[in-house]
Symmetry: C2
């Protein structure tokens, strides 16, 4: 077949095809041999044979491949379409770039949902029933509620401490919230970085050191602001102020380290980072920060 | 110009163009007159005039338009490229689908970052300096830390209550965490739904009623599980168990309602829902849930 014949073929059969700009060359058994674009056809003389201008190294997908991997190919090579072959390398379909745009959006939406502790929904929000929405949300809420009872159990062990100094209790929300926020910042950046292919499991130490340094910097600022505030509010109670400041600093460091490492660890164990890391981070950080806080309080305040 | 002439023109000038499949028809002053695709050219006889087959209703973007709006056009119309015109309707450039894929990914990443209380970063994580990362994260951490001091202030008002019944304190993490999780579930779904154009400000009442119903369903299950657990752990303390159960139910309802409405409210006031709603939801829900909890405790336990 020559370029001129290819144009005739397209003119005859192309009208109802989804894409005509990328043409796949097959042998008699539908086995994929090469690819030629309409641009190639237009840039070559009419009498040239297709076999001479086609690209035999076709970027393709196998029917069993995950849609995420296919989206990655589009991203990497800037493709407009991609042939799908079966295990005998026979062409069975074509994926076009608008399908991929949809897949990418869907994947991002799923990650948003997983990271907010939900089972991803099949349909858009307004078209999902109340019962289905509740079903998607209740499972993680239950799991996280039960885990936060563990945190409550930690508090119960220090009942005597806050019976003695009730003021200690009032710093709990600030401590756990800041820890949770610091941790989610890190886990979100790492989970997203892994989703778009920027961060891999090999980067674990780079992430660890980066998060450590950021945590120390950020933790020092937060601790200092807190210390100044407390020393003004509660003059003469230096040890209490020190307890809160140190707890905050250590909490932020632990939170950011766990937040950076947990998603990568999930990946190593072939689990979904968005599910395993994001919803759990707050609960883990809560428990850790309270242990640090009360251990420090008991030591520094002599309880 | 006829179809045949158009092909000759493409053969001569197309080799170094980023896209040749969509051709824009301009008048002598570069004013955009219409659009014709290579597919149109291939599906029409060689002697037809371009003016007769071109589409005069061109979907286009103006140079000052936001990249998000441009991405929306691609999504909506399944385009491969889009002409960009200045305010005199003169063609000044072309946006292709691979640019848009990048923009969409970037927008999703920014939303992830904003929702985790960070200022979006310009560069990928591994290429961003420790100092820049710390700078992007500290602002919101400070704001949220100071807001959670308000929550601490609420606790301080009830010091006498938990000095009397220290057990009350141990339910605080469970209550605030569950409330926070329930709220983020709702706000995440609504923020994402608005980002992909599924939910608009006109849907405020549909969202409100849906979230209310889901909240009641989910809140009842969570409250019941809690009640059963507590009645086993603390036999004879029915009023305490009732206080925790009711607080949880009301917290979940309030959290999901605020989580559903806050992003839409942000949009109405021309603020970014991802920034205004997501980081704040936990802090707001924390404060509200603690007020509910201690008010109920004082009433039901006669403190």
């Amino acid at each position: 077949m020559t370029v001129a014949q290819a144009f005739d073929y397209i003119r005859k059969h192309g009208v109802d095809k989804e894409t005509i700009y990328t043409c796949y060359v097959m042998d008699a058994t539908r086995r994929l041999e090469g690819v030629v674009t309409v641009k190639d056809l237009l840039m070559n003389p009419y009498e040239v044979a297709i076999g001479d201008i086609m690209d035999a190294h076709v970027i393709k997908a196998v029917t069993t491949e995950d849609q995420e991997a296919v989206a990655d190919s589009f991203r990497k090579y800037g493709l407009l379409s991609l042939p799908v072959v079966d295990h005998e390398d026979r062409l069975v379909g074509i994926v076009t770039v608008d399908d991929v745009v949809e897949v990418m959006e869907q994947e991002a939406t799923e990650d948003f949902e997983k990271m907010a502790a939900m089972i991803p929904s099949e349909k858009p929000y307004l078209k999902t029933s109340v019962f289905q929405l509740a079903k998607n949300r209740i499972m993680w809420l239950l799991v996280l509620m039960i885990s936060s009872m563990v945190t409550g159990g930690i508090l119960a062990r220090y009942e005597s401490a806050f019976a003695l100094i009730p003021l200690l209790v009032t710093f709990i929300p600030m401590l756990t919230d800041t820890g949770g926020n610091a941790g989610s910042q890190s886990s979100t950046m790492i989970i997203r970085g892994m989703a778009v292919g920027e961060i891999g499991t090999k980067d674990v130490f780079r992430v660890l050191f980066k998060e450590l340094k950021v945590a120390i910097l950020v933790g020092l600022i937060l601790g200092l602001v807190n210390y100044v505030r407390l020393i003004i509010l509660y003059p003469g109670q230096e040890m209490l102020c020190l307890t809160v400041m140190l707890s905050l600093l250590i909490t932020v460091i632990v939170a950011k380290t766990i937040g950076g490492i947990l998603p990568i660890a999930a990946k190593v164990f072939h689990m979904d980072p968005a599910i395993m890391a994001a919803p759990l981070i707050t609960t883990i950080v809560d428990a850790v920060s309270l242990i640090i806080y009360f251990k420090l309080a008991c030591r520094l305040l002599g309880l």
